[in-house]
Symmetry: D2
Subunit: 281 residues, 4 copies
Amino acid sequence: MQNRTDLALELKEEKNIGSAQSGIIVKTRIDTTNHIKETKIIIKNKKGEDSLGKPKGTYITIEAKDLSTNDGSFHKEMSEALFLNLKEMLNKKKKILIAGLGNADVTADSLGPKVVNNLYITRHLQKEGIGNYQFELSAIAPGVMAQTGIETSEILESLADRIKPDVVIVIDALAARSYSRLNKTIQISDTGIAPGSGVGNHRNEITQHTIGVPVLAIGVPTVISVPAIIHDVFGEKSLENVSENIDEEFISMHVTPKNIDESMKRISYTISEGINHLLHN
Amino acid sequence: MQNRTDLALELKEEKNIGSAQSGIIVKTRIDTTNHIKETKIIIKNKKGEDSLGKPKGTYITIEAKDLSTNDGSFHKEMSEALFLNLKEMLNKKKKILIAGLGNADVTADSLGPKVVNNLYITRHLQKEGIGNYQFELSAIAPGVMAQTGIETSEILESLADRIKPDVVIVIDALAARSYSRLNKTIQISDTGIAPGSGVGNHRNEITQHTIGVPVLAIGVPTVISVPAIIHDVFGEKSLENVSENIDEEFISMHVTPKNIDESMKRISYTISEGINHLLHN
Amino acid sequence: MQNRTDLALELKEEKNIGSAQSGIIVKTRIDTTNHIKETKIIIKNKKGEDSLGKPKGTYITIEAKDLSTNDGSFHKEMSEALFLNLKEMLNKKKKILIAGLGNADVTADSLGPKVVNNLYITRHLQKEGIGNYQFELSAIAPGVMAQTGIETSEILESLADRIKPDVVIVIDALAARSYSRLNKTIQISDTGIAPGSGVGNHRNEITQHTIGVPVLAIGVPTVISVPAIIHDVFGEKSLENVSENIDEEFISMHVTPKNIDESMKRISYTISEGINHLLHN
Amino acid sequence: MQNRTDLALELKEEKNIGSAQSGIIVKTRIDTTNHIKETKIIIKNKKGEDSLGKPKGTYITIEAKDLSTNDGSFHKEMSEALFLNLKEMLNKKKKILIAGLGNADVTADSLGPKVVNNLYITRHLQKEGIGNYQFELSAIAPGVMAQTGIETSEILESLADRIKPDVVIVIDALAARSYSRLNKTIQISDTGIAPGSGVGNHRNEITQHTIGVPVLAIGVPTVISVPAIIHDVFGEKSLENVSENIDEEFISMHVTPKNIDESMKRISYTISEGINHLLHN
C-alpha cells in the first residue's frame, strides 16, 4: 500500500532530498511580484530516478509563496508563470496537440476536459489560412477507459501519428499527499505520464517513447488517496499495520474537498489562459 | 470528531439496537423476488431518539439482499420498492413538491438535481387542464448556499408557503460509514432533514416544523467522511487520539469511489422512476 | 403573427422613432475608447408606450460600435459599460437578488443560469461576518416551468418576500429581429420582464408590481423567431400572406447560429464580470 | 441555396419516387404492434444515386406510424426496431466502434455525445477477461472541429486503423425539411456519412472508403435549415427569388423547437438502449 503523490515536490520534501545529492538538482525561485514560488527539480540520471521514484526529466512546481493565502487571487500570476515556463520548454516547437485527460463527469477528474473546453484552437483556422498565430493548437478530450473501452494512450498514439504535432501536452488531475496543496499547485514536466499516476489511472504510458514526439505534462493535484490520508494522520507506521484490514476498492477511493467545483473552475481557467497566452505572443 | 453516518440502519447496527429495546421498533422484510431487503426502523419516543441519535419517525432502508451483488441489476426492483413505500407514506396526499438538494457541479452531491432532471412534472399541465394524473408534481433544484447565498431551508419555506403543496419530498446525497453501501442503498424517512446531515451540509432544518407541511426525505449515501474512514480502519479509539492532529478543513473532506459518475447516473434514475411511477398508478 | 423582438432599440429602428417624438427620448453615446456604443431609450409616458409597444422606463443597449467587428475582443469594454450603467441604475441599493432565468439544458436559453454560475455570491458570507463588500449578492437559477411546474414569477415573488432584497436583477436570453445582433448586444432596463418576452416565455410578469421591489433586467438576444426570419427575407407583406400556412408549433421554434455554445460562454462571462465588478468598487 | 434534408425518406417524398423507378427500391413495413412504420429505401446504382441525390446503399427510417402521436410513448418499440435492424446490418460483425459525432455543448447537436454517454462499453472488460458479451463495444465522442482543430474523419480514421474494429457506427444529429419529423424519426444507413450532411457539417467523408471498414450511420433529425423553412412556407419558387438577399451566415443558422432538451434526452436514450440490447442477445 503506497503513500502516493504525483508531485515531484512532495517526494523531494518527504525524502528530504536537496541539491547536494547526486542525480538531482533543485532550484527555487520567487518571482518578481514576490507572490509566486517556482521549484524546479531536475532528475539527471538513474541514481536520481531511484532516489525520487520518478523518471528522468524536469519537474517545475508553481505555487503561491504562502499556500494558505492562495484563494484564487494569484490567478494572473500563476497563469503568467505557466506561460513562461511552457514557452521555454516548448523551445521553438510550434504544432501543439493538447490532450485533456480525465472524466468530465467526475468533478475532481475533470481538469483536462475543462482546460480543453477553454482553449483557443487554431489548427483548423491556420489550415484555412485564417489568422496568423505563433503556435498551432489542436486538442482532444478523449474520455476515460470506462467510457471508451480504449486505452487513452492508444487514442493519442494513433492521433499523433496522423496529425504529426511537434509536441503533445497532456493535462491531467493528480493526487497529492498534502491537502493544503489541493487545487493550488501546478506541476509542469517534460516526462509525459507514466502508468499508475493521476487520479483515475486512465491510461498506459504517454511519453515520447510511445507517442513518438516529446510529451509535456501539466497537472494539478485535486485529490488525496486514502492511504495518504491515513499516513498524514497516523504517520509512516500506520500503513503497515492496517494494510490487511483494507481492500482494494477502498484504497482506490479518493478524498476531495467540498468546494471542488469552484476550485476546478478557477484552476482550469488559470491553465487555459496560460496556454492561450502562447498564441498572442 | 464524530463518526458520522446519515443512515439510521448503520446507527442501529453500530449500537447493536434490536426491536426489544424500548423506543425503537425494527422490522425486516425480504421482498417476493427475494432480491430486495427492506429494513424499517421506527423511533417511537424520546428514549428511542436518544439511543439512536435521530429524530422520532420512520426510516426505511431499501437495499439489495446481498449488497455485493448490486451492480445495478436490481434497478427495477429497487425502483418498485421505493414506489410502494412512497405511496404508503404519502397516504392520500396528492400535491407534491420535490426538492432536489445538493450541488449539480459536484458529482457526489448531484443526486438531488439529477433526480429532479428526470421527473415527469405535472403541476403546470394540470393547472392548464392537460392530462389526468394521480398526483400533482412540482420540483425545484435550488442549488447550495455557496451558489445562492441563501439557506436552502429559506428557499423551500417561502416556496411551500406560496404554492401550498400537501407534502414536500427532499432528495439528497448522504454520508455513510461503510463504503460497501455507497450508491447501493436508498433511505426513505418521514422526518425531513435536520442540520448537519447530508454531504454538503447545505441547509438548516427542513422539517414539518419549518416548512409547515409534512416533509419526506429520500437519500442515498454517496460519500464517507474522513473520520468514518479512520474509524473503519483503526477502530473507535483512533478518533480520540488523532483529533488534535486534524484541522477542520480536513474533516470536511469527503471520500468517493472512482466510478461515482456511473453510480450517480444509475441510482438517480432508479429514484426518479420510482417517483414517476406514482403518476401512472 | 408578430415580428417579435425584445430589443427596444430594434423597435425604435423599425418604427423610425427619434428623440423629437413626444413620449420617447433617445440618447446615443460612444465611449471614450470609441469602441462601444450605448443607446439609451427612455419611454416617458403612455404615448411613448403606445408608439414603441414597451412599458414605461429606461432601456440601455450596449453594443460594439461596428457590430460586425465584435468577435469577443470588446469583452472588457462591454463588461465595464455594463458595470457603470448598473451602478447608476442601482443608485445606492445594496442588497441584490440575481435571478438567472432560462433553461440550462438548452444552449440558446442558458444565459441566465450561466451568468449565475460565475457570480461571486456574498450574502451568506456577510451574514457570517466574512469579508466586507460594497454590495450583497444572492442568486437563484430557478429553471423553467417545464422543469418545475411552477411559474418563475411565483418562485421569485415568494423568495423576494422572504429575503427582502433592495432590488431584483433578472438575467434572460432575448429574441431579436436581426441576426447581426445575436450574442453581441446587451440590453439593460429598469422595467422588469413582462409576459411574452424572452426566448422560452418562461414566466408571467416579473416587475416591481408583482415582486414588490424594483426589478432590473439584463438581456442578450440569442435567437430569432421564425416570423422575424421570414420578415427579414420577404418584407412586411409576407407575414400576412403566409399566416394561414403556419401552425403554432412552427412559430414557436427558434433560429440560432451554429457556434451558439462559444457565444454563450463569452457573453455570459462578460455579464458576470460586469456584475462581480460591483463588489470590488 | 439548397433545400436541405439528410433523410432519404424526405428526398423520396419530395421527388415522388416510387419502387417502380429503376435504381431505387422502396419497401414499407408496419410492425406487429402496429405502432411503428419502417421504410427501407435501397439505392441500387448510379441512376438511383442521381435521382435521389444520395450515395448507393440502404436507408431505413423508423418512425411512429402516426407521427403526431409520437410523444415518446413508443420509446420501447422504436428501440426494439433499431436493435433488430442493426443486428441484421451488422451481419456477424462483432467488434464495433461507436462514434458519437457533434457538439455536446449545443443541445440540438448533442445526439452523438449523449448516446455514447449511455452505452454499455465492453471492449476493455473483454480484454481483461471480464464478462462474456455477444458484441465488443468501444466508443468515442471526438468533439467538433471548432473544439479540436482536427477533422472528425482524421480522428476516426487513425483510431480505426489502430484498434481495428469490424465496423464503425457513427451517431449524428441530422437536418430535416419537415418540422413534424424532428426528434421523432431514426434513420439507419450502411453508407457512412458524406461531406455536407448533418447539423454542424463537422467532418469530411466518413465511409468505408476512408475508414477502411464498413461504416453504419444512425441519425435523428433535430434541426431544420433556414432555406428549408422558407421553402416550407413559400414553396419552391421562393428560394430562387430570395437567394441574393441572404448571406451565408444566415443560411447556416438552424431552427429548433423550444423543448429540444427533453426531446434529445428521450431520443438519445432510445438509441443507446437499442445499441446496448445487442450485448445481451
